[in-house]
């Protein structure tokens, strides 16, 4: 049933030209060069250190690696990370 609704949303997004991240509640990542990353539609901060940021998503986790990380802004739906980003990885069990 859940799968059906997900499929329907995806199909509707394609048909109606509404951005998929809005319809599906999946994260949208904006990376500017290597030094600034903004992530929308995240759930919560799991852990944060100078070299790693772990975020909980609707489904799974997002791991960002790099160095000299500073969380510039944290809002309920958006997080802005500064520093040198070297890797972005999704973790789905």
């Amino acid at each position: 049933m859940r799968k059906w609704s997900a499929h329907l949303k995806k199909w509707f997004a394609e048909v109606s030209d509404i951005p998929e991240d809005v319809m599906l509640g999946v994260p949208r990542l904006t990376l500017i060069g290597q030094f600034r990353l903004s992530i929308e539609n995240y759930q919560s901060v799991l852990s944060f250190s100078k070299t790693e940021l772990k975020l909980a998503l609707n489904e799974g986790e997002l791991h960002i690696t790099g160095n000299d990380f500073v969380l510039e802004t944290i809002l309920e739906k958006e997080i802005v990370l500064q520093g040198r980003v070297t890797g972005v990885r999704f973790e789905n069990e």
Binding site: S44, V45, F48, K50, V70, L71, I74, E76
Partner: protein
């Protein structure tokens, strides 16, 4: 922009210390406490900026997340204001001192009057006082030096020239008083001679030998009262004194317009004060754009000084004085009367003090292009006697020659 907002609201820069400081951020986000610029210092510590909120909410948050807080900096306006409040005495004192200094810098410290006798100096001081200029007055309300000169010279008739100058906080008034030459008394032997051609009316001789009679026609320079008295054989010289009233005639020509246009002040005025800062002008008082239809505008600019420096601030006072155009149309009779009156006045100014105008006769009167032309002559009774010294040596020689 966002940082500016934080500055006005106030924020803390703090270390969050705990087993899992991320909890603090998660819960803070849920409680809508704004947190930014988060940095990991070590395993158990996060450094972040926290917007200033209710201290109770912050305490709850720390308790819930099992973290401790260590405040590093307190930034923003609220903290700054509190600091200022603690130093209010100093701030107020400093401000008061600056104001006092500013006021003293713009004060008139001395008014010097040079070249006037004490009576006149006192009179000048009184006039200056009416114009807000005295020792201790604020220079900002003192009129322009040229205006002061005008005010002084219109009220003081005994003064030939008056100069007002300002040097720093000192006003200097230079006065040149009118000095009339002392009439030179001829006290030696003298005659009285006729100053001008006239018909003698009356003689009042105190000393000397009158040589003319009433109704006699005399020429200028003719001896009226001789200083030589006695017979030809035994004579002596005296200083003759007296008055000889003679009838003289004067012609005058006048020309006056029948219609006159005057500009009068109605007495209403309007003041506008402006403060000029660099190139910007701010109105302080008086916002009407054009207070009167017809007016005279007087502008006084007063630079505000601070100690020995000029500040870029200038106080500008603009005084609008309402004027009125008045047209006066004269009838022929009025114009004639005015013309005669003014010609008589002009004549009397030239004549000795006790001169009297007996009558004025109009010889010719004509109106051309709105102008009245008038030719008159006046009959005057005046003292025509003027003293003239006698050259005794010459006189004696003449006497000696005669018998031969």
């Amino acid at each position: 922009m966002r940082h500016l907002l934080h500055r006005t609201e106030g924020y803390l820069r703090a270390e969050i210390i705990g087993a899992e400081p991320e909890r603090f951020i998660r819960i803070g986000l849920r409680e809508q406490i704004r947190i930014w610029n988060i940095m990991r210092t070590n395993e158990t510590t996060l450094t972040c900026s926290i917007a200033l909120t209710d201290s109770n909410a912050l305490r709850m948050l720390l308790k819930e997340s099992k973290c401790r807080i260590h405040i590093l900096e307190k930034n923003g306006l609220p903290f700054y204001l509190r600091k200022l409040k603690l130093r209010l005495g100093i701030t107020a004192g400093l401000l008061f001192f600056m104001m006092l200094l500013l006021m003293l810098s713009n004060m008139v410290w001395s008014v010097r009057i040079d070249g006037a006798d004490p009576k006149l100096a006192d009179q000048i001081r009184n006039i200056l006082r009416q114009n807000h200029l005295y020792e201790g007055s604020l220079d900002l309300f003192v009129p322009d030096t040229s205006q002061l000169e005008n005010a002084l010279s219109t009220k003081l008739t005994k003064v030939t020239w008056i100069g007002v100058s300002r040097k720093g906080t000192t006003y200097r008034i230079n006065v040149v008083e009118k000095k009339y030459p002392q009439p030179k008394e001829v006290s030696g032997p003298r005659n009285l001679v006729a100053a001008k051609q006239a018909v003698v009316q009356r003689l009042y001789v105190e000393n000397g030998q009158p040589l003319v009679e009433s109704d006699q026609f005399v020429k200028a320079g003719q001896v009226l009262v001789s200083g030589k008295i006695g017979s030809d054989e035994s004579f002596k010289f005296v200083s003759s004194r007296g008055k000889v009233i003679g009838e003289t005639w004067y012609r005058s020509e006048m020309q006056i317009p029948m219609t006159n246009h005057y500009t009068l002040y109605t007495g209403k005025d309007y003041n506008r004060y402006q403060l000029k800062m660099w190139h910007m002008t701010v109105s302080l008082w008086g916002f009407k754009k054009q207070p009167f239809k017809a007016y005279d505008l007087e502008t006084v600019r007063k630079p505000i000084r601070f100690l020995i420096w000029r500040t870029p601030f200038v106080l500008i006072k603009q005084q609008y004085r309402q004027t009125k155009q008045v047209t006066r149309q004269l009838t022929v009779a009025q114009a004639t009367r005015d013309a005669i009156e003014s010609s008589e006045k002009k004549l009397l100014d030239q004549l000795p003090e006790d001169a009297k105008i007996l009558n004025a006769v109009i010889d010719y009167k004509k109106i051309v292009r709105g102008q009245l032309y008038l030719r008159t002559h006046q009959v005057v009774h005046e003292n025509i006697a003027v003293p003239k010294a006698i050259n005794i040596a010459k006189e004696k020689k003449k006497m000696k020659k005669k018998p031969q």
